[in-house]
Subunit: 206 residues, 2 copies
DNA sequence: TATTTTATACCAACCAGTTGGTATAAATTC
DNA sequence: GAATTTATACCAACTGGTTGGTATAAAATA
């Protein structure tokens, strides 16, 4: 352990993640990582037996954080309302609350980064990403199924596809935000997603 | 020119683009490109003075194709209706028509790929991507401005942000489609986008 | 004293890019 | 119209530098 109490392994992963979101995995050399983390090569390979193992660790950590966000915000939404529609609207709102705080363009998503370099990674690493996306489908898709039982949607839509739209809003907005260097894009697009859900299930005016 | 009439330069760019969408730019070696294109290294560097120049050419070609899609489909939509709302709905519908034909997951967008490796490219290359995104904002955003003049939106939204949502739907859906290997996701998400526009500007039921 | 980290040296494989040259066909000269 | 030049397209072999990864011995930490 380094003097300051933080784990060296975490420092390596933090440095690597930041570099990867800027330059991609292939272009992020081990030399660049150890320089950014302020350690030496021996230390890197003491903690990770290969660069591929670092990729797996990074994607596992990212998936855990992702899962934590999903479960935490869904749990909070469920305490605030019993109505599945309100729960989903609150759920999306909790993300928006966080995202409007952004002052710099969102650094991006490791899943999207790895997605466009997919051929570099082994099946185990790719499976972690795949499963993380499926978890949103199951959890959020399940909520939409429940909404369908109570509210007839104004248009014919699939629960799974509505759940996918959350991932789409995040991933798409990250790319626009990064490219145009505009932090507000992500919150804006999540707001459109919430608006859509609201309009889809709003009771017909009379 | 090779005897078969197809341009060698185009063959190089086609091979490179396919490889880059699978493995990223950094991991796509010139050796891999020339093998896929069936040429030698000398030929590659006869057509492109560097790998960076290839990146610029690729992104320029992609931007031109992107612009062509935007202008062509917008022009077709304008011939089919004079109402800006109907034009936008038809415009999105024309993309959906193309995308429902997909039998394999969409190969991805070069802009998104380069976005997650942005540090590797010079300002000229990045500017091409930036300008392509701004063109959607201007053209589609302008349409939404016109819609606002005629139809009051049910919720407070910005024209620019609604235009961004098209890019977001594409880019986000590409990532989900690629990751889960499901071709239908892109058309589905574009349909949600069209639904949203429809619901936003639908006349209040009475 | 077992674990973690530093420092330095090293390697085979791979990388982008260069070299010196060939083949061909159209344009130019005589 | 034969000889020469120019321009385009291509190639096999090579170069210097970078890559991920290893080795080792000593030092610092817990």
């Amino acid at each position: 352990m380094p003097r300051d109490g933080t784990s060296t392994k975490t420092a390596i992963m933090d440095a690597a993640e930041r570099l990867i979101l800027d330059r991609g995995f292939a272009a992020t050399s081990v030399d660049a990582i150890i320089e950014a983390a302020g350690i030496t090569k021996g230390t890197f390979f003491y903690h990770f037996k290969s660069k591929a193992e670092l990729a797996l660790s990074l994607v596992q950590r990212f998936a855990e954080a992702d899962r934590a966000h999903l479960e935490d915000k869904m749990a909070r939404a469920e305490t605030l309302s019993r109505d599945p529609l309100q729960q989903v609207l609150i759920f999306i709102g909790l993300f928006i609350e966080d995202l409007v705080q952004l002052t710099q363009p969102y650094p991006g998503c490791l899943f999207a980064s790895f997605c466009y370099e997919a051929q570099l990674f082994d099946t185990e690493t790719l499976k972690v990403i795949d499963e993380a996306m499926w978890e949103w489908r199951r959890d959020l898709g399940g909520k939409f199924e429940k909404i369908f039982e109570r509210y007839p949607p104004r248009l014919e839509v699939e629960a799974r596809s509505l759940a996918d739209m959350a991932t789409v809003a995040f991933e798409g907005a990250f790319i626009v935000s990064k490219t145009l260097k505009e932090p507000q894009v992500v919150a804006e697009q999540l707001t459109h997603y919430r608006n859509y859900v609201e309009l889809l299930f709003a009771p017909a005016e009379s």
